[in-house]
């Protein structure tokens, strides 16, 4: 049990170091904040991470509001992203 945990801790530390490295590399070049994006752009980027991006004609504006809440629990997007995406899908 102990040996397994020690091994696992090393595993996790190496994983975290890898993540820090990747953050540093990706962080250098970015110059546009996510919050400045439009609803359509956020829809194109976030709503096709798991499945195809949904067609805005699929549901009514009230239904999109429900789906927005539902998908927030899966995609773990921020409230700002959710509200912009829902507003875009409702138009």
């Amino acid at each position: 049990m102990k040996a397994i945990f020690n091994k696992k801790i090393t595993f996790v530390i190496i994983g975290l170091l890898g993540m820090v490295l990747a953050v540093t590399v990706s962080g250098c070049k970015v110059n546009e904040a996510i919050s400045s994006k439009t609803g359509a752009q956020l829809w194109g980027e976030n709503c096709r991470r798991c499945h195809n991006a949904p067609d805005p004609n699929t549901f009514s504006p009230e239904q999109w509001k429900t789906v927005g809440m539902h998908m927030q629990t899966r995609a773990l997007i921020t409230n700002v992203e959710r509200d912009k995406i829902v507003a875009f899908l409702q138009q």
Partner: protein
Amino acid sequence: MKQYITIITIALLTSTFAKAQTKDTIEVQKIGDKYYVIVDHPKVDTTKQFAPAPAPPPTISKTFDSHFMVVGLATIGFLNTWSVNKVNTPTGVVSTKLPTTNSFGDVAHYEFSPMFLWRHSDNILVEFEPSFSNGSLGVNWADITYFAYPGVILRAGYIVLPFGTYNKRLAAGWICKLPTDPVSITSSPVGSDWGIELEGGQQTGKMKVNYDVALTNGFTLSATDGSIANPDVNAVDNNLGKTVTGRFGWLPALNSGVEIGASGLWGKAGDANTAYKNVSTAMGALDFQWVYAKKPVAINIKAEADMQYVTNASYSNPNPPTVSDTTYTYKNLSYGYYGMFSIRPIVADKFFRNVEFAVRYSSYQSPKGSAFENRQDQISAGVCYWINWRTVFKIGYENLITTNPDNNELAITNLKNTQNILYVQFSVQF
């Protein structure tokens, strides 16, 4: 050593992907004076996206229809299986060809699951998904979700454990690009359980992070062979110890195209007041995804590695080699992984635009020395034809090899089964 190399390779790949992702890779096209998102919906007018501010969401109306939705999924299919058994004997390999079978209904993969969504208020959502599959009616999830603050969502009920990404995000037939699920997922005991959950997402500077933590009843341990199982939806918890499961997700790229996640799970598994009361389980998973779409192709890479560990215990041997040696023990560690790659052309042609090719490899190793030891190797390849964003017709081919080695202590003889399976499947989200 092998796992360090894997981790470092993943980290390097990630940084490369992340760097490539700092530009917008969701291409928007201008035709005349209108803009179109070219992937998935070439005809969707996105001129609206250039409007300065989004319209405020309409206030909730009080009618039943506006609060209540029935959605869901349905998957049906056909399969044809060719199967061979091989046994290693002292005189050589004995090979037995099993009868070829085929079946409409595809028993293991059909599913009819309506989902009821009730938006109780701006902050509360109720979701319930009963499911008809594998010959029985069951429940995939049933929970109440409370949107407490921005970035803090609370949930209680029968929930999908936040472990890895496959179960909660990718398992639906209209989402998964291949007709089957990976063996590393189907062989893992992780599923849905009763409990409470806390989850949310945050933007931190130029990237996003998310978390998902649950406290649930936990697994049950079989006193017969040490295997662990998800309790039945009706079961009363078998001990006082609760199980903690958590996943941390990180989206390093500005366009959310890359996500890396690490999950862990700890909890008691043995029945209270038995010799197994202290037996507990620890699990871990790493997941990765990269979603890309820019002319001429859309690419999707998804991968997840899982391991399950159960602390040591002795179990009684059904076929003891001697009268005095009636118990056995083994290192109760299982592990598996899968990697999926898919590619879809972004072209003007109406037919080819809807075609997606996918390949996947998955393997799973159950504990060595256990009564249920085996290794599964699964290679899958398939073509999807997307009738629309949520309706898909799939043709797939799979090679599945299951190997059980000899175990003299438990009097188990080796067996290697090879299956080649052709699938035709149709899946919709409704």
